[in-house]
């Protein structure tokens, strides 16, 4: 029971990190039909920049702020240098080019920071743990991540649903050609969306840095999960990304434990230890397949 509670909380926390990464990805994919594999790189850069900024600025909080802004600026620079030349190209060209950026930046990070994993210490303010229930303490930091994710989700929901820029973003995700013909500079709209997305992914990277080891290639795992999230949620939908991120976070965290336990209950020791983990890592893809069989455009499709 206590284990389940911990897993639920961990699942929510993973979901919130995924949401921060997936929010930008789904908007960029939805508004501009641009497949950006390099979005995970922003997450990695956020973590590295967080480590550096925190040590330069002498604290986690200033580091977080600086790193998120630097990641956003870097994303905008990439958009201006490379991505904007790819919008009119085919999906395959976009995938190849952005994959090239992943490889290049992973190596660049290795050159700049070295291949050894780095650590970002937790801020003192959030480094403790508190009593969740009898005999169970839970780290404050993970709760803080969950809370921040919820706040950002609310802020994004306000931006997208209640402001003019947000109205344009939703309209652009629904029918970009038409919105362009109405006199809206769709490229400018895209730069806005891209900058916000890159900043959020970088922000997520800094937040995650104290929990994981900061190393080259750390963005790819998150990227794959983020793609699962936006496909389940419906491409272009912030609400879909939010709900799907929680779903994927929970399924991946809680499902792993439950499947492993379940396979041990049903099968003999050795078979179970082989089958359990294999099934567990497939679980989110099975969920994705099930959702797509039920709703082929995802839970909340933005484009019609």
């Amino acid at each position: 029971m206590t284990l389940l509670a911990v897993q639920l909380l961990n699942g929510f926390q993973l979901g919130m990190l995924l949401f921060l990464v997936a929010a930008g990805l789904t908007l960029v994919f939805g508004v501009m039909n641009f497949v950006n594999l390099a979005h995970g790189v922003q997450y990695m850069l956020g973590a590295y920049l967080g480590v550096t900024c925190a040590s330069l600025a002498g604290g986690f909080w200033l580091g977080l702020l600086l790193a998120a802004m630097a990641a956003g600026a870097f994303g905008l620079a990439l958009e201006w240098l490379i991505f904007r030349h790819l919008y009119a190209r085919s999906d395959l060209d976009q995938v190849l080019a952005t994959f090239g950026i992943i490889v290049t930046l992973n190596e660049a990070v290795r050159l700049l920071w070295g291949s050894a994993p780095l650590e970002l210490p937790m801020p003192d303010l959030l480094s403790g743990s508190f009593m969740l229930m009898d005999g169970l303490r839970y780290p404050v930091y993970r709760i803080a991540i969950t809370a921040v994710g919820l706040l950002v989700g609310l802020a994004l929901a306000f931006l997208v649903n209640r402001t003019r820029a947000g109205m344009l973003i939703r309209a652009g995700a629904s029918n970009p050609d038409m919105v362009n013909a109405l006199g809206v500079d769709i490229r400018r709209l895209f730069r806005l969306v891209f900058g916000i997305g890159a900043m959020l992914a970088g922000f997520a990277g800094v937040l995650a840095a104290p929990l994981v080891s900061v190393e080259p290639g750390m963005g790819e795992n998150v990227l794959i999960l983020a793609f699962v999230v936006i496909v389940i949620g419906g491409i272009g939908s912030i609400r879909g990304a939010f709900i799907a991120a929680i779903l994927v976070g929970l399924v991946d965290t809680v499902g792993r434990t439950m499947i492993t336990d379940l396979s041990h209950a049903v099968l003999s020791g050795q078979a179970a230890s082989r089958l359990g983990p294999a099934l567990a890592s497939m679980l989110i893809y099975l969920v994705m397949a099930a959702v797509l069989a039920w709703r082929p455009a995802g839970l909340f499709p933005a484009r019609t």
Binding site: L168, R170, N180, L182
Partner: protein, 248 residues
């Protein structure tokens, strides 16, 4: 008076295929100029070049006094060029009023503001309501655009184009998919727009074209093979052979 739209010797080819082969067209103020032609004649590519999504290889496009040949679509829109799409294009998850309000915003070029003072909001919605009344949708501002009938969606598209108070409207098959009664209502609606702005109309419904047009150009294999009043076009032997059929 200068022509609202002046297309001069426009050329576009894809490989060896000449999709637009020296097209010259003029749209006089307040008139409706229809472009007809068989499928594959190059009508859609022509519309795309005028609206700015396809760049011509040669030739020029002028909107009133502006050379818009190389401008991106949103700049053309702000200079007073509105268009409708062949495939019904409304924002289905937005209300009818929001659809039009967005079009008013886009035309004013002030769409990126994050804050919305209430007074400005009211002016915007008032402007949108006026346009809705003109196309006969005043009764349904709060309905979701996706819930409208096909004919009503077509009316809403006209409202989106009109919201910009355009000099020129490009209408790409505005009657496509409409039933006979809906088509009749839309034709009557289009007729009321004559005089407000110039309309370049691409349409397959010949009844509509001959009722509405002041001038007709017939496109075939990327060229204008005939141009004149509806009566002249009806009588043109080349047009009858190429397109209209002997029984027309």
């Amino acid at each position: 008076m200068t022509d609202l739209l002046r297309i001069t010797d426009l050329r576009k080819h894809y490989g060896a295929l000449r999709v637009t082969d020296g097209v010259t067209l003029k749209l006089a103020p307040g008139s409706i100029h229809a472009v007809i032609g068989p499928n594959g004649a190059g009508k859609t590519t022509l519309i795309h070049q005028i609206s700015g999504t396809v760049r011509p290889d040669a030739g020029s496009i002028h909107l009133a006094d502006h050379d818009i040949t190389t401008l991106p679509p949103h700049r053309r829109a702000r200079l007073g060029l509105a268009r409708s799409f062949q495939i019904t294009s409304v924002l289905p998850e937005f209300s009818v009023l929001e659809n039009v309000a967005l079009a008013v915003l886009g035309a004013r070029g002030s769409a990126f503001g994050f804050l919305r003072p209430l007074a400005a909001e009211k002016r915007l919605n008032d402007a949108a309501s006026t346009v809705l009344a003109r196309v006969g949708l005043a009764a349904r501002p709060a309905s979701l655009a996706g819930a409208l009938s096909h004919g009503e969606k077509r009316q809403l598209e006209l409202a989106l184009a009109l919201a910009a108070e355009p000099k020129v409207m490009l209408l790409d098959e505005p009657l496509a998919g409409a039933g006979p009664e809906e088509a009749e209502r839309l034709i009557a609606l289009l007729a009321t727009l004559r005089g407000h702005c110039g309309i370049l109309l691409v349409e397959h419904d010949m009844d509509a074209v001959f009722q509405l047009a002041d001038e007709i150009s017939v496109l075939s294999q990327g060229r204008v093979i005939a141009n004149g009043t509806p009566a002249e076009i009806r009588a043109d032997p080349a047009v009858r052979a190429a397109y209209l059929g002997e029984d027309f």
